[in-house]
């Protein structure tokens, strides 16, 4: 009897001990996790490029592990985490308008441009970053661009050259792909209507200007296939569903070099946009997160990204470091939104204007779309 009882007890002892150990371990485990941060980005080839460009070297240098998560933009999740006081995202790759809003709302930590690393030749960071991509909470890392592209298999006549051609149904009959958003489309419409790239936002500042943009969009409305996700336009072009489509330049580049798609990018009127890495307010791993953001802003980190995807540096000094695509050896300079020949008629998206007017414009766009 005694034997049976102690035998049973002995049998359970390891499990009990294990449970105790587990509970005791919880506390030090928290400390150990400080050496790992969660970085949230856009997924796909862009996140993979960042990972290869500098995540690995960051971990090698600092010993801080990076856990990569994907999201689809927007501030809802960050706001929920900050409001609940339970922050588990440490660094988030935000679009400029969202980043600015988040900064205003205090959802992300301050990070002045002066705190970022110096340029290639020791330039002061505040001089190396273009002023319109600097906020109190972070500064633009890479440029990506919305361009329009066509499939040379299907569009065989004289090629389109300008944004005006995109809106010209007579010269280029057929359906066009556009993002289901007023973003970029209003700028494209005004460019096509003859507004100079640097005058776009002064025209949009008046309600007549917005009317003018919508009126131009009206002319092709019936021929537009509206896309939602960045992966859609290359597919639409490859399937011949549309004759040309607006698209992110990186996606088209990938289709060109990795899948040998006969796509051609028209750089005229390319809409430059950027985003920055932000530290979520109140993260318990603030120091590690800050280290990471600073590392990511080093000129060589940013230049490295262009080995994997055709997104160019926002800060000026690393632009010269852009070399060739690692997987295929293609020279990257002609594919960069930031190469001088591609920049001649580029529009820099004014995210300040967009964050002020987005709700109204979006609503108007929705109403227009539904008609």
């Amino acid at each position: 009897m005694t034997n049976g009882f102690s035998g049973r007890f002995r049998g359970k002892a390891p499990a009990v001990r294990g449970l105790c150990l587990f509970i005791i371990c919880l506390a030090p485990a928290g400390a150990a996790l400080a050496e790992a941060i969660t970085v949230v980005s856009w997924g796909g080839s862009y996140a993979r490029a960042c990972q290869q460009a500098y995540h690995e070297s960051f971990t090698a240098e600092t010993g801080i592990e990076i856990m990569l998560e994907d999201y689809n933009g927007g501030l809802a999740q960050i706001r929920a985490q900050v409001d609940a006081g339970a922050v588990h995202w440490d660094v988030v790759d935000l679009e400029m308008p969202d980043g600015w809003l988040a900064c205003q709302e205090g959802l992300i930590e301050l990070l002045e441009v002066t705190e970022l690393p110096a340029g290639v030749n020791g330039e002061a960071p505040e001089d190396d970053y273009p002023g319109e991509y600097v906020t109190e909470c972070g500064s633009g890392v890479t440029f990506y661009s919305t361009v329009f592209a066509y499939n040379s298999n299907y569009l065989t006549g004289p090629p389109p050259q300008t944004v005006a051609d995109f809106f010209d149904l007579e010269k280029f009959p057929g359906r066009r792909g556009m993002r289901r958003s007023p973003f970029v489309n209003l700028e494209f419409a005004l460019l096509a209507d003859g507004v100079a790239p640097d005058r776009i936002y002064s025209v949009l500042a008046t309600s007549e200007g917005v009317d003018r943009a919508f009126a131009k969009l009206d002319t092709i409305k019936d021929q537009v296939v509206w896309w939602e996700a960045g992966a859609q336009p290359p597919q639409l072009l490859a399937d011949g569903e549309v004759i040309m489509s607006t698209a992110y330049n990186g996606r088209i580049f990938n289709a060109q070099v990795l899948e040998n798609q006969p796509f051609v990018i028209v750089w005229d009127g390319q809409a430059l946009d950027s985003g920055f890495l932000a530290i979520v307010a109140g993260t318990p791993r603030y120091e590690a997160a800050r280290q990471f953001v600073q590392f990511a802003n080093r000129p060589e980190s940013i230049a490295n990204i262009s080995k994997y995807i055709s997104y160019g540096p926002v800060r000026r000094s690393p632009r010269a470091l852009v070399d060739s695509h690692l997987a295929t050896g293609v020279k990257m300079q002609p594919h960069m939104p930031t190469s001088p020949e591609n920049l001649t008629r580029a529009v820099r998206l004014d995210w300040r204007w967009w964050s002020e007017n987005r709700d109204d414009i979006y609503e108007r766009f929705s109403a227009w779309l539904a008609r």
């Binding site: 501030l75 205003q104 709302e105 939602e228 002020e356 109204d360 109403a367």
Partner: protein, 404 residues
């Protein structure tokens, strides 16, 4: 003794309560609280009144004609100065006011920043109008007063495409400015259409499964259920491959010569795409309740009706159909409610004309962060669904509903 008896009677009741407690807690946490918060958010927004209490008090005394008093300017300036220290609070307040009138976010941020640097210059009125000319416009103050109301139906007005006229009174917006009501009607109509389509397709399928010998019935049922096991995105993408202009169906029609190559049918990125994809996705929700009801109807009922002199169609209409009503009701209700909330499928294949209200709700939750409006839109949908549910339970009786 009496007490013991009393206790022994009470214990099982307590025990039962304890057993139900986890369920109650679950329902509260997962249903009552979120729903309450949702309804609350749509009509209650205390931020502005909490952060700018003096300004709002002053503005309440203002008639709305011309500009408010110097006291109001002073209160605004003092409170903005104080806020300058508190970025998140300022952002939240300027965001809330910006939603009433665009551009106010910039005005408030600019003013707060400048006030912190320069302080008062002359009267407060002169100081503020010196910083930004918007302070000279009554509309600015109206917007602040409006945003300062703790309880507001503004989001509901907005969601119903109504606007407050300057002279008081509420009127619908101009037809080309309406965003949400057309989408809501469209959502209701599409959901209704999808429900009818699911019924039209699902009824014969369910009948076939119920009438088949068990072995074949199982295989047919499996075929209906297979879509359940595929990811929604994969299913939707499959429809894109099938329906697009260069897709399988168009290719087939062109190769048969039924459709000219330059006149390929547009079956996706429009209402057709939404209908086809949603009907496919939601079909099992119609078939399963119908099948479960049909299986329980003895085959002899139809035979009996025919033997009593009813023609087959008449027998179906008078005897079989009425007995499947609970299944029709359950399936339709299920499909309709799911369709109303559908988001991904219409967004991917609906194009411009196939978009539904839920994508607007998602936009306001995720991107514009206008949760008040999102909550108001959701609440209106909730009311619509509840009304339909009540109509249903009156018409058919909810206790007769059979879900499977």
């Amino acid at each position: 003794m009496k007490r013991i008896l009393h206790l022994s009677a009470a214990t099982p009741r307590l025990g039962a309560l304890a057993l139900v407690l986890p369920l109650l807690a679950f329902v509260t946490v997962s249903f009552v609280i979120p729903l309450g918060t949702l309804l609350g958010k749509s009509a209650y927004q205390p931020e502005v009144a909490r952060v700018l209490p003096q300004t709002i008090t002053e503005l309440r005394e203002w008639t709305g004609d011309g500009l408010p008093s110097e006291d109001a300017f002073a209160a605004m300036a003092r409170e903005l100065t104080a806020l300058g220290e508190n970025r998140p609070e300022l952002a939240r307040v300027s965001g809330a006011i910006n939603r009433v009138q665009s551009g106010m976010r910039g005005v408030l941020n600019r003013t707060a920043r400048r006030l912190a640097r320069t302080g008062q210059a002359g009267s407060w009125r002169a100081t503020l109008t010196g910083i930004d000319s918007s302070w000279e416009e009554p509309a600015t103050w109206l917007a602040i007063r409006e945003a300062g109301a703790r309880f507001t139906l503004r989001h509901y007005l907005h969601a119903l495409d109504l606007e407050q006229r300057s002279g008081g009174g509420i009127a619908p917006k101009a037809a080309d400015e309406r965003v949400y009501t057309p989408l809501m009607w469209r959502t209701l109509l599409v959901s209704l259409g999808v429900t009818l389509l699911c019924l039209a397709i699902g009824y014969p399928i369910a009948y076939m499964i119920a009438a088949s010998p068990p072995a074949r019935g199982r295989i047919l049922l499996l075929l209906v259920l297979v879509p359940f096991w595929t990811s929604l995105l994969v299913r939707t993408t499959a429809w894109i491959v099938l329906l697009q202009r260069q897709g399988v169906i168009n290719g087939f029609l062109v190769s048969l010569g039924l459709v000219p190559d330059d006149g390929r049918l547009q079956m996706i990125y429009n209402m057709t795409g939404t209908f086809v994809a949603m009907t496919h996705v939601l079909l099992p929700f119609m078939v399963l309740p119908l099948y479960s009801v049909m299986r329980s109807i003895p085959k002899s009922h139809m035979a009996a009706a025919v033997s009593l002199g009813a023609a087959p169609l008449q027998a179906f209409r008078r005897v079989y159909l009425p007995q499947t009503l609970p299944g029709i009701g359950a399936g339709s209700l299920l499909v309709f409610i799911l369709a109303i909330g559908y988001y991904i499928t219409p967004a991917l294949v609906g194009g411009r004309t196939g978009e539904l209200i839920s994508s607007q709700i998602a936009y306001h939750v995720q991107t514009s962060l206008n949760w008040g409006l999102a909550a108001a839109l959701s609440s209106i949908l909730l009311v619509a669904v509840t009304v339909l549910y009540l109509v249903y339970s009156r018409a058919i009786g909810i206790e007769r509903m059979r879900l499977g």
